[in-house]
Amino acid sequence: MTDPSYRGQILVFTSPLIGNYGVPGNTAPFDNKDVGVVLESQNIQCSAVVVGDVAEKFSHYTAVESLATWCQRHGVPAITGVDTRAITRLLRDQGTTLGRVAIGLDVSHPVPAAEEFWDPSSENLVDQVSTKVPYELNPSGSIKIAVLDFGVKANILRSLVRRDAAVTVLPWNYDFNSIRDQFDGLFLTNGPGDPTHCMDAALKLRRTLTEWDRPVFGICMGHQIIGMAAGLDAYRMTFGNRGHNQPVLALVSSGSIKAGRVYVTSQNHQYALKLEDPFPQGWEPFFINCNDSSVEGIKSTANSGKKVWGVQFHPESAGGPLDTIEMFTDFVSECQAHKTQTSGTFNVASTEQPSATV
């Protein structure tokens, strides 16, 4: 619910029993372990919540309030006692649907006309959730990573910080190319909505990718941006992939990932990259979804001279399985390796590269 990717959505939980363990306090320190919050962001990001059977009383040692009071505090409507399975079946058949929550007397009001519904996908949701100003986390980290924030989940930042990275979070459309040489790697985050709203970012990234050879890693929206920068098309899936049990098949071995292995992943996306044959020069599919064969990851080919990956799923989980969490380690190690490699030829890099980017 605090994941900015859910911005503007009415969340329907398939699991009927929700709120059992309450909601924990949402403040954490800023240090080399934490990034200020316990959950995925400061606020509830979704527009409304629909559940089968909410727990009015909760039980967990970390909990400070119930789901209901938390929603109330954030002014987010929530409804319980709903046949969520019936809604799921409807959504399965017709895909993500515009909807409204009606309780009590609301039900007797006439149903609004189709055009009266607010369609979140028509807006640039990324712009709403992305940070407005750059900020830094764990400045004492041993490598410097820039994060383009399309609606970042705190656990992505946590996962980087805990691997000893100094993280600079930039607004989604920030002109990264102007400052790129301060960084050992670039990370593109998850985010809500239609990636075509972020064409600007994709175009900037295209330049980065052609001119800059340091590691780049993208997740979810970030993956789609990388794909678009590489020349692939993004499209709206009928239903999307959601939940914590999406199996993906690795097609290439890289770092902790082994080709031919199936990983169980956490996902939440409506848009995906088209599986094209052949792939653009210098790129290859990294993962595919076992169920619908949608592209779940792309990477630069071994002989392209680049270290770029994107994955549609969420290796950082929270929630979800930790099968692919080591991809963060892979990314950070690649950045480290690149840094060591280039530090040997420090003079060359520092004198020649800025001039090339001007």
Binding site: L17, D53, K57, R92, H244, A250, G260, V262, P321, L322
Partner: protein, 1163 residues
């Protein structure tokens, strides 16, 4: 090589490898093909399973399949043609019906692959022991020796060890250790032996987990007080001390510091040579994860489960929910990641289960244990998720990887995924401890005591909990007050089989708060809050007062919390029918939902269904109008896997006849709840309310109530009265047979004899009747205060005791008294009739005399002492009864044959019991005679393709089969191992032989844990010396070189008067188990024969001590004169043939023959 496989000799082995799935499947495999087609899979277990050698992702997407073919590892699949599957033997506490399910699924998988499966399992009542599933079946002991003989005889290429519980696992490890597998070239498929060893050996296991930094629960075995203190220093206080060999955990306890531990360990060590010191994790949460891993290292979690009861209660004795409810995402995934790490490290290939303890106030956890095999929990997980774990594990053992296998429910997607559940399941164990005499300790703890379990599906915890409560015992209507514990706080702190109801009492009557209950029970507050919702709703209904005051909102609320109509009726003093009618008037009816493993994300093609009130639409259409089959419900004493065999057989027969089937059952240990055994499976309650709901929704053609044991029969008449089309014998006739008065007058009218009986309401009348017919008499009180319900009494004083101290007799609680005929022989008749005409019947003879419950008795088929005249008269009785009750379907009678006083006189045959339904012995007689009684019964019930009558008892047979009861005395600390009119066994086994002695030998050895005494060892003899068999038993044992010992001077004197018999009386400590153990060791006593006349009255009764300790020391116990006699005779027959010799290469005993070889065809 088996006869049944025809392999053209010209096929080059290399080519054969590629062709295997094609040429070895199909009809040619069965050279001895039966006349009707045998199918392993009722409907395809999985959908578009393509038998291809290519390594391809099972995906609906063609591109995904194409791409995956390039990257999926090309794992070589073991080249096996014939595989031995080791079963688990008789059902016992801790190893029950779940292994019928897992073995059956493994056999389905093998048969799909075109592999010949050879099954060893003496449990004749199981579904897996059928030729539909296995090429060959051996009804032989699950022991190293017998499995080795079968391997030597069958020469398989592979063996599956993880589908038959602990028994099969132990045998496998031992066979490997003895080098037999290697010598015979038998590959262990699936999880390697080394992994099994590591998971079984505590030291190796702890070491293995330490290598990967996974915390593990440590337990140190010590045999001195000082060692205990040292161990506690290492582990850290508080510690728990467990005594290894004591009654009901006697001497176990918690110690907070060294002083407490010193006292406790001194006490514990006086009772047991060894005690275990463990870290106390009292109050921690207990969780389980079911893990699947394939040979390519893909690892997934199928399901996780959370125990309602905190750590300390065996998971088999805990209430369990799935998925876990009180774990946030990070805790869930911490344990999930650890599970994957552990299972990869151990190298499991297939399925396994990992148990955790989790500190409720931190993220600290530790691993309790890993079961590197299919288990009870995996059966539960399979049923809870719809993921066929055993089937998948078998496929993995055959070299398939998860991505290549299909999701069995959606059929189009891959098996390499993790199910998501949009419902909650609750499991509650069934204990049945009251059945085992009052001596059994009711506390539940580290050792499992339950005999079965139920699983209920709902969309709220309240709904699934209340459903489950009703499933455990139909007398319970929901979460209500059923007991009033004297010491409530103790009843809450120390878990017993009734703790849930102690909580009910505390909440309803004593107003205990959730906080207080949590302090006492350590049960997570979330569960208690939910239970409190039930309590509050109960109060709201009571406050409404009458049905008219229950409005739509309150009725909806109650039904959504799982209240039954009958429960609501009780609260407002109304009737179920009135509540049901009012509810339907309000338009409140249940909805049917489907279990599809993916929370509706992908369409499912199976009909695995449940009902719920927490919904607003159905998942299915009701357009099939199938025939409903009611299953057996929970396994309990007296109703077990045999009724599952009946239900599955019936449903399959209906499908063969072209009918759509609807199965209802709620027992997760069964095959009938496999979603591919019927067109629609309702995992639901079997009470009147739910069966009516489903009947009305489905508009079913009819309901079959006679293949699921007594439970469905109980509602038959009510269904009929409410216009349900009950198929087969009329429910009025069922009622006539069950009502003693009606039954008796029917028998009188057709000239069939029965023992004298009466129903009395006063003690005086009881005495008068007993006086008239003469003692002994059998009493059957309708209201029992303590102890067993039924008893044989031999004199007036015990009649008085039994009807005053132990049971109540009053006009409200009448007692049925029957003349008990001493030394009478008992006979079981199983039969099928159609429209009152007998179609087929089987006559089995009991070894024990009447007085031993037929479920505990030893059955011989064909009979070995009955004359041709007896057989004809028995058939005549069966025909008369069939006609009198207009039977269409199965029925069973127990008949006694009175001893003949004057030679030449015709013995009397009296009917003592008659049930117009399938009985416990239906699978036994069907398999022994090679004639499926349920197939015939199903035809008779629906009146289609009814076969002509046949007298199969006239056929001469060159073999005998004997069914022996499987007891679980070891698990029931303190219980007297005594056979009486109340049934006590938990399962049964049956073996074949060329004669009675060979068959008895094999079947007795088939009972789990039976150890053959060494030649020349000691036998402790005792008990009732008035039994005529005592002398011949003693003489027989001495002749064979056994040494006789006894504890009582009376027995000593008696034995020593027998010519050539010498018996020595030994010092016999009745209170000190340790000393007794030393006495047994000193005299090398390896067998106990104690002819019990009645239950021991005190814990120091010598006969009780002898019987009980035979069980506790793991020695064979014979407690009945007739079976002891047969045992001695069988020993006499077997010893010259090397019966006491362990496995010897090249000397296959004559009983090692397959079912098919014995009966001459594939039945």
């Amino acid at each position: 090589m088996s006869l049944s496989r025809l392999r053209p000799s010209w096929i080059n082995p290399l080519i054969r490898l590629n062709l295997r799935p094609f040429h070895s499947s199909g009809a040619s495999r069965f050279a001895l093909a039966a006349t009707r087609p045998l199918r392993a899979v009722a409907a395809p277990a999985v959908g578009a399973y393509l038998k291809e050698e290519r390594h391809v992702l099972n995906s609906p997407s063609e591109i995904a399949r194409k791409i995956s073919a390039k990257v999926l590892p090309k794992l070589p699949r073991p080249d096996v043609q014939k595989v031995v599957v080791v079963g688990s033997g008789g059902l016992s506490i801790g190893q029950a019906g779940e292994f019928d399910y897992s073995g059956s699924q493994a056999l389905k998988a093998l048969s799909e692959e075109g592999v010949d499966a050879v099954l060893i399992n003496p449990n004749i009542a199981t579904w897996q022991t059928s030729h539909q599933l296995a090429s060959e079946v051996y009804f032989l002991p699950i022991t190293t020796d017998y499995v080795a003989y079968v391997l030597e005889k069958e020469r398989p290429d592979g063996i599956l060890l993880t589908f038959g519980g602990q028994s099969a696992l132990n045998v496998g490890i031992e066979l490997d250790r003895m080098g037999i597998l290697e010598r015979l070239g038998v590959k262990v498929l699936g999880t390697p032996i080394r992994t099994l060893e590591v998971s079984e050996d505590r030291d190796l296991f702890v070491k293995a987990l330490k290598e990967i930094d996974i915390p593990v629960a440590q337990s140190t075995a010590v045999s001195s007080v000082n060692a205990a203190l040292d161990a506690a220093e290492v582990i850290g206080y508080p510690v728990i001390l467990r005594s290894a060999f004591t009654l009901g955990g006697l001497g176990s306890g918690f110690a907070e510091n060294a002083d407490e531990l010193r006292d406790l360990s001194a006490k514990g060590l006086s009772l047991s040579p060894q005690v275990l010191i463990e870290r106390s994790m009292k109050g921690w949460k207990e969780l389980e994860y079911e893990v699947v891993r394939d040979g390519a290292d893909n690892t997934i979690i199928c399901c996780n489960m959370e125990n309602f009861d905190p750590l300390g209660t065996h998971t088999g004795d805990s209430i369990v929910v799935a998925p876990s409810q009180t774990l946030p995402d990070d805790e869930y995934h911490m344990l999930r990641s650890a599970a994957i790490k552990v299972i990869r490290h151990l190298g499991v290939v297939g399925e396994c289960n990992i148990q955790y303890a989790l500190n409720p106030t931190s993220k600290e956890y530790c691993v309790i244990e890993v079961n590197a095999r299919l288990s009870r929990s995996s059966a539960l997980a399979s049923k809870a998720t719809g993921y066929p774990l055993a089937y998948t594990a078998a496929k993995i053992a055959l070299g398939h990887t998860l991505p290549e296998l299909p999701n069995a429910v959606t059929k189009t997607t891959t098996a390499c995924f993790e199910p998501s559940l949009d419902y909650i399941v609750t499991k509650i164990p069934k204990w049945d401890l009251a059945k085992f005499s009052s001596q059994v300790n009711r506390e539940v703890g580290s050792s499992m005591k339950s005999v079965g379990e139920v699983m209920a599906i709902g969309r709220t915890f309240e709904e699934s909990l209340q459903k489950a409560i009703r499933q455990v015992d139909p007398r319970w209507k929901g979460f209500e007050v059923y007991i009033e514990p004297e010491d409530l706080d103790t009843a809450l702190t120390r878990p017993t089989d009734m703790r849930l109801f102690a909580i009910a009492y505390a909440m309803f009557r004593k107003n205990y708060s959730v906080d207080k209950l949590h302090d006492l029970t350590k049960i997570d507050k979330w569960y208690l809050y939910k239970i409190d919702n039930i309590v509050q709703t109960h109060h709201a209904i009571r406050n409404a007062g009458s049905i008219d005051n229950i409005d739509h909102e309150l009725m909806t609320r109650a039904k959504r919390m799982g209240f039954a109509d009958a429960q609501i009726a009780d609260i407002i003093l109304s009737t179920e029918d009135i509540v049901r009618a009012a509810r339907k008037t309000l338009g409140i009816t249940p909805f049917v939902k489907r279990i599809d493993t993916l929370a509706a994300e992908y369409p499912a093609h199976t009909n695995y269904l449940y009902t719920t009130y927490n919904a607003s639409e159905h998942d299915v259409e009701f357009d099939e109008h199938g025939t409903m089959v009611l299953g057996s419900g929970v396994y309990r004493i007296g109703s077990s896997v045999e009724f599952d065999w009946c239900a599955v057989t019936c449903a399959r027969k209906l499908r063969d006849m072209g009918k759509r089937t609807v199965m209802i059952n709620y027992n997760p240990e069964t095959v009938s709840t496999d979603f591919d055994e019927a067109d629609r499976l309702y995992f639901e309650e079997l009470g009147y309310e739910r069966v009516m709901d489903i009947y009305e929704l489905e508009q079913a053609q009819g309901v079959i109530v006679s293949v699921g044991g007594q439970l469905p029969q109980n509602i038959a008449l009510r269904l009929k009265k409410n216009n349900v089309n009950v198929l087969g014998t009329s429910p009025e006739q069922i009622d006539n047979a069950e009502d003693r008065h009606k039954f008796s007058s029917v028998l009188d009218s057709i000239g069939v004899d029965q023992p004298a009986w009466t129903e009395v309401t006063t003690l005086v009348a009881a005495k008068a009747f007993a006086e008239k017919v003469g003692y002994p008499v059998l009493i059957r009180p309708s209201y029992v205060l303590s102890g067993a319900a039924m008893n044989v009494v031999f004199e007036e004083s015990s009649l008085e005791y039994n009807l005053s101290a132990a049971a109540n007799v009053s006009p409200l609680h009448p007692v049925v008294i029957t003349k008990f005929i001493d030394n009478a022989q008992e006979i079981d008749v199983d039969a099928v009739a159609h429209n009152g005409k007998l179609l087929v019947h089987a006559i089995s003879e009991h070894v024990e005399n009447a007085g031993v419950h037929s479920g505990d008795a030893t059955l011989v088929l064909p009979p070995y002492t009955l004359s041709i005249q007896d057989m004809a008269r028995l058939k005549d009785i069966a025909e008369k009864v069939a006609t009198a009750f207009e039977i269409s379907g199965p029925f069973n009678m127990q008949i006694i044959k009175t001893p003949v006083k004057v030679p030449g006189e015709e013995p009397e045959l009296k009917v003592i019991e008659c049930n117009l339904r399938a009985s416990r012995s239906f699978p036994f007689v069907s398999k022994v005679l090679g004639h499926n009684f349920i197939d015939v019964a199903t035809a008779a019930i629906v009146g289609q393709d009814v076969p002509d009558p046949i007298d199969i008892m006239k056929e001469k047979r060159e073999y005998t089969s004997i069914k022996v009861a499987q007891f679980s005395w070891t698990r029931l600390g303190g219980a007297d191992p005594f056979l009486g009119v109340e049934m006590a066994s938990t399962g049964e086994v049956a073996s074949f032989g060329k004669n009675v002695h060979e068959a008895y030998w094999a079947s007795l050895l088939s009972t789990t844990g039976f150890k053959v005494p060494r030649a020349g060892s000691g036998v402790l003899l005792g008990g009732d010396i008035t039994k005529p068999e005592m002398a011949s038993i003693a003489k027989g044992l001495v002749d064979m070189g056994f040494k006789l010992y006894c504890s009582s001077p009376v027995v000593e004197q008696f034995l020593n008067t027998i010519p050539y018999v010498i018996a020595k009386r030994i010092f016999f400590p009745t209170k000190d188990k340790r000393k007794l153990r030393m006495v047994f060791d000193e005299y090398e006593i390896q067998c106990v024969i104690n002819l019990a006349k009645s239950r021991g009255l005190s814990f120091t009764d010598e006969d009780y001590v002898a019987r009980r300790n035979a069980v506790d020391f793991g020695l064979p116990l014979l407690n009945n004169a007739r079976t002891a006699q047969l045992f001695v005779e069988s020993l006499g027959a077997k010893i010259p043939l090397g019966g006491l010799r362990s496995y010897t290469e090249g000397h296959i005993p004559s009983e090692v023959k397959s079912w098919q070889e014995f009966i001459g065809r594939r039945a």
